[in-house]
């Protein structure tokens, strides 16, 4: 139905090509074209953070970005954090601290936390709360999410 374009980018360290409709979001491309479903749709308008990915080092709501704008960029999704030392540390901390309930917001918050901790390696709790203010969670009341990010920020974690 619609005009398509072939684009090339780096996804979780792997050179990737994808053919996408020009109106498709980066979120839809990840989920429907590439087949990585860890990045979630929960609002589609950049309000909840469930679709957070890292694009060229910046955390981004993938629902607000066109797929075609991923051309020549470096993308990291939750699936890419499994082999990243800080990402792995964060995932373990989220499990141990009880930061996961239904889990739907979790990948977006883990990605946001990874991005944010790299810029703020020794945060206070209040700073962590500000760091994830763009991510909504309906289950946990955020306390244990902050615990987890705090734990992951410690060198001994």
């Amino acid at each position: 139905m619609s005009l398509k374009r072939e684009i090339a980018f780096v996804l979780n360290g792997v050179r990737t090509r994808a053919t996408v409709p020009v109106e498709m979001s980066a979120l839809a491309m990840l989920r429907e074209v590439v087949g990585l479903t860890g990045t979630k749709y929960a609002c589609g308008e950049g309000e909840c953070g469930a679709c957070t990915i890292i694009v060229d080092g910046l955390s981004t709501c993938s629902c607000l970005m066109f797929a075609v704008d991923c051309e020549d960029r470096d993308l990291t999704t939750i699936e890419g954090l499994a082999r990243d030392p800080l990402g792995e540390k964060l995932e373990r901390a989220f499990v141990e601290c009880g930061a996961v309930q239904c889990g739907f917001c979790t990948p977006g918050i883990v990605v946001q936390a990874k991005h944010w901790l790299e810029a703020h390696p020794h945060p206070t709790r209040a700073e962590i709360q500000r760091g994830i203010e763009g991510n909504l969670c309906r289950c946990t009341g955020y306390v244990k999410i902050v615990d987890a990010i705090e734990m992951a920020s410690r060198n001994d974690a």
Partner: protein, 792 residues
């Protein structure tokens, strides 16, 4: 000699079993599943709040390439009414009664084609006078919402009392009514030294599950239907689907992929679910139907909005004398669980404190507004908001400290209330004193009163509220039970098949923990299967804070049966009496010394590969010892009751009306802590959900239209806004509870709005009877300013 010390899992901080896959993004929710050959379903909803449908033309939509089916009511003559009130068909053919109403549905090769097809459907309406103010619904000449003759439900078992209204009631816009009485309120009023009487207005909020609603329906070659569903009540759903579709329930299988939040929203069946099945049937292809967030706001249920009048009296010494409560429930266009919240509301009115005389009435009226479902707390947030403000008002009028007022009237263990609830354990007084001490209640409360008249922009105050909620299931359905199947393989690995659903609350982990505790096994020796009606035994569903209590007791029973069998076999092999043996650390041990006699795996193999050739497989069905209420709503409806007190400290900016939650001190009678990590998470999450209800959230419905269907304008609490939380557990060790535990899922959200109202009053001297406490509302209350164009 190898010695294994006695150890316990109870009360430990145990990580959720499903957390690693969720934290790494590997969990596949319904949104993440695709079946081969799958089509995409979309629903056309009404653009009017109340209208007759004169004509629907789907010919252009049907002609669009990539469209496999376009259905209207005319295409599914076999559809039957659904939901609690059985007062709506999935696809509406004659008339629409709210903006969410489903008129047509499309199945197409892609979401985009389905959306394009919807845009090609032509609908001609004849508008009818709208009814969007519940207060108008009962007036003579009001528009009638339900004037139709629906086909009778296939097997309608009316809930009595509190049953949905009949056609005659519907002609007067009455969906349901509830009446309860104890004692004689006239006598109580005559004995009163003080009487307070107020109206309270409770608003619309909605669940905002992060995972939007969705379903996949697929018919197999033999006509069997498989549903990938987010339901909280798979076994009730199975039966209801069978009724709506005219199918044999035995041919329906419900698989529940992990659920992105429930909170009560998935307790009823909604039109989109059978509509997806109609599309799958029409196309003979799997069909996936997932909401957009906007659709989720418009077409999923809300919390029940309530207009409530409460009249309460007390003697000079603070003893409560009577309560009269009348409510008007805006039922919306159709009847779901929201209309039945009086079941819970009247318990708080009658039994949170000792009140000799009580009268309760609810009328739930039809309007053209969105309809309310069940939502964590189930009417109790609304009832507690009124009751706990009145406790403070009475205390203030009598010159008593609100804490003393509550302690004076608090229930004790061993009491049976006039409504028939038996409090075998009751930690209310401990909750009150614990929360008060930890929050420095007396000092802060008195200091705030003294500071009310002093100058200063920022005012601090504390407020308390307590709550009573079912904590041992609720006998609403014919059975309140849960089944368990347990099998242990040759390597001492357990498979726990339970009817209890995991919706993020952590039941999977707590059930595994309880079984391991009985059998002396580590948690990694368990696989929990809890999401497939073809495998798991019956359970009534995730509601009424019941899963740990009911599912837990069921699992423990199955484990004990297995243990009996294992120890009998071990006694034969070791020549020791069974009472001298125990299971610890995957071994059979001497109970007295902990000496390991043999591994459990070895014992199981010797049972299996012997002349007896036995496997250890057990089943158990647990039905709590609770009772259905009688026609007067009396009866011991739960096997245990949960209690809590929360003290909220606020800071009110008197120049902007902004209310900041500084700290919440919560004391909860939970029976016993099973998984400390999990229960803290439930309470923290409930507190913040209650904070949203109190301060930030409101679904704005004007003339039947939701005006803020998105997170930009519907304000959920974010991480920087949460209060400091100080949580205390009162362990009353309930005799019927699994390891002494009671339910806690709903409790933490219930007190927050009431306690916040009391705290604002303590800080400023101004009491507000209407939620939410937005800056605008608080500012107006403080400055007695009127809303533009209104009477506020």
């Amino acid at each position: 000699m190898k010695v294994i010390e006695k150890d316990t899992l109870i009360g430990k901080r145990i990580a959720k079993l499903d957390a690693p896959e969720k934290a790494s993004g590997k969990t596949r929710y319904v949104h993440d599943l695709d079946l081969p050959g799958q089509l995409y379903g979309r629903i056309l909803r009404s653009t009017r709040v109340h209208a007759r449908i004169r004509r629907i033309d789907v010919s252009k939509a049907r002609a669009l390439p990539g469209v496999h089916a376009v259905l209207t009511a005319a295409d599914v003559p076999y559809q039957r009414p659904l939901g609690v009130g059985k007062d709506q068909l999935p696809l509406k053919g004659d008339k629409v009664r709210s903006r969410r109403d489903e008129i047509a549905a499309v199945a197409a090769d892609s979401e985009e084609i389905a959306a394009a097809a919807l845009a090609l459907i032509e609908v001609e309406y004849e508008d009818l006078p709208p009814l969007t103010d519940p207060a108008e619904a009962l007036k003579p000449g009001a528009p009638v919402i339900h004037d139709e003759n629906l086909p009778p439900p296939a097997a309608h078992e009316a809930l009595k009392p509190g049953a949905p209204g009949d056609a005659e009631a519907h002609r007067h816009n009455v969906a349901m009514t509830f009446d309860y009485a104890q004692g004689d309120v006239a006598v109580g009023e005559a004995e009163s030294d003080i009487v307070v009487d107020d109206w309270f207005r409770l608003h619309y909020v909605t669940h905002c599950c992060m995972g939007v609603s969705g379903i996949i329906a697929e018919f197999g070659p033999s006509g069997n239907l498989t549903l990938y569903s987010n339901t909280q009540v798979p076994f009730l759903h199975k039966r209801e689907f069978a009724e709506i579709l005219g199918m044999d329930p035995g041919r329906i299988r419900i698989i529940q992929p992990p659920i992105g939040g429930g909170f009560g929203s998935k307790l009823d069946i909604y039109p989109f679910e059978p509509i997806c099945v109609f599309l799958a049937k029409a196309t003979d292809r799997p069909v996936k139907l997932v909401f957009s967030r906007e659709e989720e706001f418009v077409a999923s249920p809300t919390r029940q909005p309530v207009l409530l009048r409460l009249r309460s009296g007390a003697k000079k010494d603070g003893t409560l004398t009577f309560r009269t409560c009348e409510t008007l429930h805006d039922n919306g266009a159709y009847t779901s669980w929201g209309a039945t919240t009086p079941f819970v509301m009247m318990q708080t009115i009658s039994s949170l404190y000792r009140v000799p005389h009580c009268k309760y009435h609810t009328t739930a009226v039809y309007t053209n507004n969105p309809y309310a479902g069940s939502f964590r707390g189930y009417g109790n947030l609304q009832a507690t908001f009124a009751v706990e403000q009145h406790m403070d008002k009475l205390a203030a009028a009598l010159g008593l400290d609100p804490l003393e007022m509550r302690l004076k009237n608090a229930q004790d263990p061993g009491e049976t209330t006039p409504q028939g609830m038996q409090f075998k354990t009751c930690g209310l007084k401990d909750c009150l004193t614990t929360a008060a001490a930890a929050s420095h209640w007396r000092e802060k409360h008195h200091a705030a009163i003294a500071a009310q008249k002093t100058p200063g922009r920022l005012k601090r105050g504390v407020g308390m509220a307590s709550m009573l909620h079912v904590g041992g299931g609720a006998k609403i359905y014919p059975s309140d039970g849960c089944g368990t199947i347990l099998k242990i393989d040759d390597f001492a690995h357990l498979t726990l098949m339970t009817g209890a659903s995991e919706i993020g609350q952590g039941s999977e982990t707590v059930l595994a923990q309880l079984v391991c505790e009985e059998l002396g096994l580590p948690l990694d020796a368990v696989t929990v299967v809890n999401n497939d009606t073809d495998i798991t035994p019956w359970d009534v569903g995730v509601h009424a804070s019941r899963t740990t209590f009911i599912g837990g007791n069921s699992a423990i029973g199955a484990a004990r049966k297995a243990k009996t069998k294992i120890l009998a076999a071990a006694a034969k092999l070791t020549g020791l009496p069974e009472v001298e043996l125990e299971l610890r650390g995957g071994h059979i041990v001497r109970a007295a010394t902990g000496e390991a006699l043999m591994s459990l795996a070895k014992l199981l193999r010797s049972l299996h590969f012997s002349d007896k050739a036995e496997l250890v497989m057990t089943t158990n069905y647990y039905e709590p010892p609770s009772h259905h209420q009688d026609k007067e709503f009396k009866g011991d409806v739960s096997a245990a009751y949960a209690w809590a007190t929360q003290v909220v400290e606020v800071e009110v900016d008197t120049e902007t009306g902004v209310v900041r939650l500084v700290k919440v001190t919560a004391a909860h009678d939970v029976g016993r802590v099973l998984n400390r990590l999990g229960i803290e998470g439930q309470i923290e999450g409930g507190i913040v959900m209650g904070q949203g209800y109190a301060i930030t959230e409101e679904l704005i419905v004007e003339d039947g239209v939701v005006r803020n269907p998105g997170f930009r304008d519907y304000k959920l609490v974010t991480a920087p806004e949460i209060p400091e939380m100080d949580i205390h557990f009162i362990e009353t060790m309930d005799g019927e509870g699994p390891q002494g535990a009671k339910g806690v899922g709903e409790a933490p959200a219930i007190c927050m709005a009431a306690a916040t109202a009391n705290a604002i009053c303590n800080a400023t001297g101004v009491r507000i009877y209407e939620l939410p406490f937005t800056p605008e509302k608080v500012y107006r209350a403080l400055h007695r300013a009127k809303a533009p164009g209104g009477t506020g």
